[in-house]
């Protein structure tokens, strides 16, 4: 029961602040220098992007919060967030942003950075693999799928081989391949 003077006093800080010195101060400039990232810091936190977004309702980090996190330098949290991958790329946030911040494009930049660091969710990797192996994202697996639409059973003129060749040499090929 060693009573120290310190423990008798209430802690002086009750909140759990983000230690700003631990954040990556260069992250903001990094995104700014990427394609369509220039207007990033024009954001004035109006939240129009979030209001416009059809899916943000389900997200822990809303579009405006992701933009805020990028500006603050929360690199780790942004690049490993599920939200940047769940984005529908519908561009509604970007269309309505009053400060011309290219929100959707910035999320593409984030995805590219995350991919470079191998932070691609498994579901996305699986899609990449499918694309690489079949040359298609959507394969016709059942006869009725085309029959119901009054279409002939085979897609006429479908040639996936050349596409597969090309894909091997792309970033997708590299990223998915390196995972193997």
């Amino acid at each position: 029961m060693a009573e120290t003077k310190e423990s008798a006093e209430p802690p002086t800080i009750l909140v759990d602040p983000i230690d700003m010195s631990k954040l990556d101060q260069s992250f903001c400039n990094e995104i700014k220098s990427m394609p369509y990232g220039e207007e990033l810091v024009a954001c004035f936190a109006c939240t129009t992007c979030t209001a416009a977004c059809p899916i943000a309702n389900q997200w822990d980090y809303k579009p405006h919060q992701l933009i805020r996190m990028i500006i603050l330098g929360m690199r780790e949290e942004v690049l490993s967030s599920k939200e940047i991958w769940e984005c529908l790329t519908c561009f509604q946030c970007q269309e309505r942003c009053p400060q011309k911040v290219r929100v959707t494009d910035i999320f593409f930049d984030c995805k590219n950075l995350a991919a470079e660091e191998g932070k691609v969710p498994n579901s996305i990797v699986a899609l990449g693999k499918l694309l690489l192996e079949t040359g298609q994202l959507y394969e016709v697996t059942e006869d009725w799928q085309r029959e119901d639409l009054d279409l002939e059973p085979e897609v006429p003129g479908l040639a996936t081989e050349p596409l597969k060749e090309i894909l091997k040499t792309t970033r997708t090929g590299r990223l998915v391949g390196s995972d193997e």
């Binding site: 936190a45 939240t47 209001a51 405006h64 009053p98």
Partner: protein, 422 residues
């Protein structure tokens, strides 16, 4: 009396008869300087004509002391005084077609009319108004006092009405007339136009009748207006029970206007306070991203909160019309990080104040500096009302402005002209 230099004694042309143009005209006239006051509409008064209560005093800015105590009566002696002043040559229904000549001696071509209704003869008996929709009253406050005729709405009956008008004020075959005037100075007082956001899909303006602008709301709140001050749904005339306003529509938005329209926060809250305090039981919610009630106008914000106006910091997610005429509006509340769903009757957009339509041509003809489409003074720091050699600007022609500001600027123009003539 001031000695007037001959070369500088020509009349002053004032373009636009809103509060700024009227102030300049009346004060120059008081100093014995002749003015030609040109107004494209059939009435003078400009945008302030239909404002009901005006901040900062909450009454009509131009009423003389006496009428302040007669609520609902806003007979503007100021405006009617303009008609009979021997130093003011008022031309309503008139446009500036061409400006040539030199500073100090401009030659200006004016086109007037067609004057289908002679304002000197019309006694506002109302006969034509009852008989055909082609005749209308712009405002009970209009000056000169005369009805307005729109030939595009003409029906068979208008010919008979022309004959029956007790004072023979109507001439359906009227033609426009042209005249060239010579003036020494030009004052631009062309004011602003309120943006109509028909291209902004997210708000449904122009698509759903119960989505209106603040100026349209002001007209509705005006006891002299069509609804006699009652808030009704444009779709079916039903009484309004719930109002929602949204700020910064088309302002601070680089896709439309990059500037802050400055006074929309103040007049939105002025309207919200009137609705909550004077129209019992109507609930009002204001959706905003920043409230900018600058300097003394902060009191409107404070009063709004005390009166029960609700504020939501966020933006509109979507607007959906219901078969019963009401609107479902989902708002993203950025403080709570939740979506709020509302059912409302009237959705009021605080839209941007933009330059007047013909401003660009005038600015180009006179070779003026501009800023976001408004006239920019030559030297912002020292002479904010001088736009060029013998060219002046005042009021909202320089950018969004409140009435007191517009009046002060008009007075500054007057003193500049007087100085130049001493």
């Amino acid at each position: 009396m001031v000695e007037v230099n001959d070369t500088l004694s020509g009349p002053v042309l004032i373009i636009g008869a809103g509060v700024a143009g009227m102030t300049a005209a009346i004060e120059l006239a008081d100093s014995d300087i002749k003015t030609i006051l040109v107004e494209k509409k059939q009435t003078i008064g400009g945008n302030a004509l239909e404002l009901y209560k005006a901040f900062p005093t909450d009454d009509c800015f131009y009423c003389f002391e006496g009428s302040r105590f007669r609520p609902g009566i806003r007979k503007c002696f100021y405006r009617s005084a303009m008609l009979d002043n021997p130093n003011i040559d008022l031309r309503t229904n008139t446009r500036v077609d061409e400006i040539t000549g030199n500073p100090g001696n401009f030659k200006v071509k004016l086109t007037t009319g067609p004057m289908y209704v002679d304002p000197k003869r019309c006694i506002m008996c109302g006969l034509c108004l009852k008989r055909s929709g082609a005749f209308s009253l712009i405002s009970p406050q209009c000056q000169p006092q005369a009805v307005f005729y729109d030939p595009s709405l003409a029906e068979e009956s208008v010919k008979e009405i022309e004959k029956e008008c007790p004072t023979k004020a109507i001439n359906l075959n009227a033609q426009s007339t042209e005249e060239q005037v010579e003036v020494s100075d030009i004052i631009l007082a062309t004011g602003y136009t309120e943006m109509r956001p028909v291209n902004m899909d997210e708000y449904g303006y122009g698509k759903y009748p119960n989505v209106i602008t603040q100026l349209e709301l002001a007209r509705m709140l005006d006891p002299n207006g069509e609804s006699a001050g009652a808030l009704i749904r444009p779709s079916d005339g039903a009484p309004v029970k719930r109002v929602m306003m949204v700020q910064c529509v088309g302002s601070r938005d680089e896709n439309y206007n990059l500037y802050c329209s400055k006074i929309c926060c103040v007049f939105a809250l002025k309207h919200a306070n009137i609705i909550v305090n004077e129209r019992n039981g109507i609930k009002t919610t204001v959706v905003y991203m920043d409230i900018r009630t600058y300097d003394r106008h902060e009191r409107y914000y404070r009063e709004a909160r005390e009166s029960g106006v609700r504020f939501v910091r966020g933006r509109v997610h979507l607007v959906r019309p219901n078969p019963d005429g009401s609107l479902d509006i989902i708002v993203y509340d950025s403080l709570l990080d939740r979506y709020l769903s509302y059912n409302i009757d009237l959705f009021v957009l605080s839209t941007a104040l933009e330059p007047s339509e013909e401003d660009e041509t005038l600015q180009r003809t006179l070779g003026l500096n501009t800023s976001s489409g408004f006239v920019a003074p030559l030297d912002l720091a020292n002479d904010s009302v001088v736009a060029g050699d013998h060219v002046y600007v005042c009021g909202a022609a320089m950018g969004p402005a409140e009435v007191p500001e517009s009046v002060t600027q008009a007075r500054a123009v007057v003193s500049k002209i007087l100085q130049g003539r001493q």
